[in-house]
């Protein structure tokens, strides 16, 4: 569109859109990241919003943010500090001041820096000065007045006019990064198909911002981030919740089954239910239950009836499901229980992220009650691990607990779309003719899985239940039978180890420090470890996705490092679990329980200190 001077080519850059809950920051961030992805950048995003639907306007509590990290090289986290902050009001400065890179760019809406708003945000007079940001690259743009001006003859009511402020800001940012407007314009045309006026207004604001940025030329240096060097293929942006839902749909197709999801809404897991509710085109049955107990119980009923059974929730809902998980273990029915972890305990910090439900997943049930536990580690690999969870549940006739977290659920990244023909077929152990009379708890020798005879199958009538029983399904209180069954159920889960991949060491095979992570901290850990490797340290990473059972080669990997550091967003639950399973090693810990992810520096600084301690 226009020529630019002073362009800086960068490997990667972080930009954060921040404003009031009503300012449309989530949409702005999404449109920006979609555009960057289409351009070919690798990226990672993270939305961050208050628990209230609309916290009081103008306050720090009401700030809603969306961070995008894009790059020419591989991107694994949404970034710690932002190069560019778009602040729609003073509170946005307050909320983000300490997260801007020294000397970074701040674009703010001058029109919104009224006395009242400045005070609401907790400043005296001048947020920029009070935060000592004067020396940064500060762009005070009169966004509010500019959109009023741009749309003055447009016949929109003043409120609707002001709602386009975010597009003005987005236009500025597009100019700054030399991006095209067409994807965003298309979006509005589709969205407002029946309200062409609204589509037009947004497009006008967007372009006004773009041209304004070009005009003022204050926005130098502008950034150039070349497309990333990524594998050939077809890509899309995907967030963890959608990827999880899709992983199940893919598994159902590969197993030749229909999905039944019984769930009750809860932040941050609701997206999975919502996406599956929309998948009626693929025959998904979604049952919005009256509570979490009904969520899992309807699902368990559907599992009994022969469906791929799913239930999704977050920590507090998980607590409610624990009795029924016990029943699933006892009845040996396949079901996947997803826990999108959030900050706890209790209601805790519903919109924040944490990894503190691990012990609950492993042990939160009465009796000896083993179930498979798996954790996803990036927004897009949620697809793979949802698929895996379903595969293991169906082929091993067991409940599988799949752990995700708020960070993965809402974060997005580009994802190379798989082809269904490349995914493995899933073969549930359906009972066959020569198993009449059908013995519900007879097991195959290899996996110890029982066979699945679904109501409606002639001649295979049988009864299952939550009481201890014999192979035949008859209730039994015989002491030796109970011990045998307890051990068989445990052994069945242990044997899943034969069908999961070994741990992969990222980095040298032996060295000074092995960073150990699990689930959703992966992006931060790998970035920190790579940077330390680049600085010459003998450090590697293993990130666990298979938690119970653990992969076979743990011991073999662990013993080759001088120090093992377990990093997780809790007080040390995985470290404690490793102490149980591999008592022979000593574990250092890096923990954080703040409702937010690690920062790269958190990890790097602590690792460097440990290297020094050697």
């Amino acid at each position: 569109m226009s020529k630019k001077s002073g362009v800086i080519e960068r490997e990667e850059v972080v930009i954060r859109f921040s404003g009031d809950s009503g300012d449309g920051m989530q949409l702005t961030g999404t449109l920006f990241s979609d555009t960057a992805a289409l351009f070919g950048n690798d990226l990672s995003t993270f939305p961050d919003y208050p628990a209230e639907i609309r916290a009081p306007q103008g306050t720090v509590g009401g700030v809603s943010g969306f961070q995008v990290h894009l790059g020419h090289s591989e991107i694994n986290t949404p970034g710690d500090y932002s190069d560019v902050l778009v602040a729609m009001n003073p509170a946005a400065i307050k909320a983000n001041a300490k997260w801007i890179k020294t000397g970074g760019t701040i674009i703010y809406d001058e029109g919104n820096f009224t006395e009242k708003n400045i005070e609401k945000a907790g400043y005296e007079k001048d947020p920029i000065k009070e935060e000592k940001l004067d020396s940064y690259n500060i762009i005070a743009a009169p966004i509010s007045s500019m959109v009023k001006e741009a749309l003055k003859d447009f016949g929109l009511d003043p409120k609707s006019v002001l709602r386009t402020k975010n597009m003005f800001a987005l236009g500025m940012v597009y100019w700054l990064f030399d991006r095209k407007l067409d994807y965003t314009e298309d979006y509005f045309e589709k969205k407002f198909k029946n309200k062409p006026g609204m589509a037009e207004a947004n497009k006008i604001a967007l372009r006004a911002g773009y041209y304004y940025a070009e005009t003022i030329e204050a926005l130098s240096p502008t950034y150039k981030i070349l497309p990333a060097q990524i594998a050939k293929g077809t890509y899309r942006n995907i967030c963890g919740n959608t990827a999880t839902a899709w992983g199940f749909v893919a598994a159902a197709e590969k197993a030749g089954l229909k999905i039944f999801i019984g769930s009750y809404p809860i932040t941050p897991a609701t997206g999975i239910l919502e996406e599956l509710a929309a998948r009626k085109d693929l025959g998904v049955i979604s049952f919005q239950a009256e509570d979490e107990i009904a969520g899992i119980c309807t699902s368990l009923g559907a599992s009994f009836a022969g469906k791929l059974a799913i239930t999704s929730t977050s920590g507090p809902g998980m607590a409610l499901k624990s009795e029924a998980i016990g029943l699933a273990v006892m009845a040996e029915l396949p079901i996947v229980i997803v826990n999108v972890q959030r900050g706890g305990p209790s209601t805790g910090l519903p919109t924040k992220t944490e990894q503190a439900d691990l012990m609950q997943a492993l042990f939160g049930r009465n009796g000896e009650c083993p179930a498979v536990v798996i954790a996803s580690s990036t927004p897009s690999d949620c697809f793979h691990f949802a698929f895996e969870a379903a595969r293991i549940a169906l082929e091993h006739m067991t409940p599988v607990l799949l752990l995700s977290d708020s960070y993965l659920a809402n974060g997005t990244e580009p994802w190379r779309i798989p082809k269904m023909k490349d995914l493995p077929k899933i073969n549930p152990p359906f009972a066959d003719r020569n198993e009449i009379p059908f013995l519900p708890y007879k097991r195959d020798n290899e996996r110890l899985a029982r066979s699945w005879a679904v109501p409606g199958t002639p001649g295979m009538e049988h009864r299952i239940g939550g009481l201890e029983k014999t192979e035949k399904g008859t209730v039994s209180y015989v002491p030796e039978n109970h011990e045998l069954m307890v051990k068989l159920r445990a052994e069945k889960i242990e044997r899943v180890v034969n069908e999961i991949p070994d741990l992969v060491v990222q980095g040298v095979d032996s060295g000074d420090i092995l960073v150990v992570g699990w689930g959703g901290s992966y992006g931060y850990l790998i970035t920190a470890v790579r940077e330390l490797q680049a600085a010459g340290h003998k450090i590697s990473l293993v990130n666990f996705n298979y938690i119970y059972p653990l992969p076979k080669n743990v011991k073999d990997v662990f013993r080759r490092f001088n120090k093992i550091v377990v990093c997780e967003l809790n007080l040390g639950q995985f470290a404690d679990y490793l102490r149980i399973k591999h008592q022979e090693f000593t574990y250092e810990q890096i923990n954080k329980v703040q409702g937010i992810p690690f920062t790269i520096n958190d990890i790097k600084d602590k690792c460097i200190k440990m290297l020094g301690d050697e």
Partner: protein, 336 residues
């Protein structure tokens, strides 16, 4: 139609473990008799129960069965039926299982009108845990947890069912096999949630609690067996009936004050407005006879079929036909 099965075909090989004299035995028999009449292939029958004496029921049936956890049978049965609408799904439950711990799933299954048949064994006590009061125990009942008598008002099952938008409610007595069998058949045929309250005797912990009305000697005079389209007549000599007196029901003697069968209320189980059915369900001895039979049976769309229809409706015009379509939908881009 010649029945393909006999009741024996529905007996499993498990020893029946209820106390001798327990009302549950009779219910088992009447259900087995009823299934024979339905013309449904045996493998379609699925019995789901919670926990309680009554909930042992599925073990004794040679059908698909799931003895689940306490209070959750309505939810599990809802899942089974929604997953496979072709099955004939029966929920077996007690007054504790359905109305104490399971109350929420019970009212929600009813509200959704999922086509399951709920047999609620109401012995007004927790049998399996050895005699604590239940949400249907009469106020004042002395039990292990109410050594000085309960101070709680009990639920009336019919009232709760109707309050939860229930479309089918019936009541029977364990010992009345013929009536019970008939009711189970009607419940099975009704499309939507059917709740059948069985007044069941627990010989051990609440013996004789229904005797005032269920005893052979008195039951004709103290119960009214409702039949759709028939006048509300009862009594040993068919000598009593019900009329409407203003907005209330009233017991009258036929012959007295020149009242004949013509003057009596005629039972309309199909009426959607639950006004009279509500009063019928609530009748208590000694003021009234206790109503038995199908009190309410109103047609309406069932949840599982609506779900099925919505899905097939959407699939007709959907552009996404398989997972690959979904994966490639929306904004995607090529990296070469």
């Amino acid at each position: 139609m010649v029945n393909k099965y006999t009741p024996k075909d529905f007996k499993s090989d498990q020893e029946v473990r209820w106390c001798p004299g327990c009302g549950d035995h009779a219910v088992l028999n009447s259900v087995q008799k009823a299934l024979v009449e339905l013309g449904i292939p045996k493998e379609q029958f699925t019995f789901i129960s919670g926990i309680g004496c009554s909930s042992r029921f599925p073990y004794y049936m040679d059908t698909y069965g799931f003895h689940s956890i306490h209070g959750r049978a309505s939810a599990i049965a809802s899942g089974v039926k929604t997953a496979n609408p072709e099955l004939s799904v029966w929920q077996i439950t007690g007054d504790g299982d359905a109305l104490a711990i399971g109350g929420n799933h019970f009212i929600h299954a009813i509200r959704r009108n999922i086509d399951i048949n709920i047999i609620l064994f109401n012995n007004e006590i927790y049998g399996l845990t050895k005699g604590q009061y239940s949400p249907t125990s009469t106020k004042g009942l002395v039990t292990k947890t109410s050594p000085f008598g309960t101070v709680e008002e009990p639920f009336s099952v019919g009232e709760l069912v109707i309050g939860a938008k229930g479309k089918f409610f019936a009541r029977t007595i364990d010992t009345n096999l013929a009536l019970s069998t008939q009711i189970y058949i009607e419940a099975a045929k009704h499309k939507g949630t059917s709740v059948i309250e069985v007044l069941q005797n627990c010989v051990i912990f609440n013996d004789g609690i229904h005797d005032t009305i269920a005893d052979k000697e008195v039951r004709d005079d103290r119960t009214l067996i409702l039949k759709h389209g028939q006048p509300m007549i009862f009594g040993k000599g068919n000598d009593k009936g019900l009329i409407l007196d203003g907005l209330k029901l009233k017991v009258v003697k036929l012959g007295e004050n020149s009242i004949t069968e013509k003057n009596l209320l005629v039972h309309d189980a199909l009426e959607a407005n639950p006004g009279i059915q509500y009063m019928l369900a609530n009748m208590k001895y000694p003021e009234y006879p206790v109503a038995l039979g199908v009190i309410r049976s109103v047609p309406g769309p069932t949840y599982e079929r609506s779900v099925e229809e919505q899905i097939s409706e959407i699939q007709k015009t959907a552009k996404i036909k398989c997972m690959d379509d979904l994966l490639m939908s929306g904004s995607v881009w090529e990296v070469e």
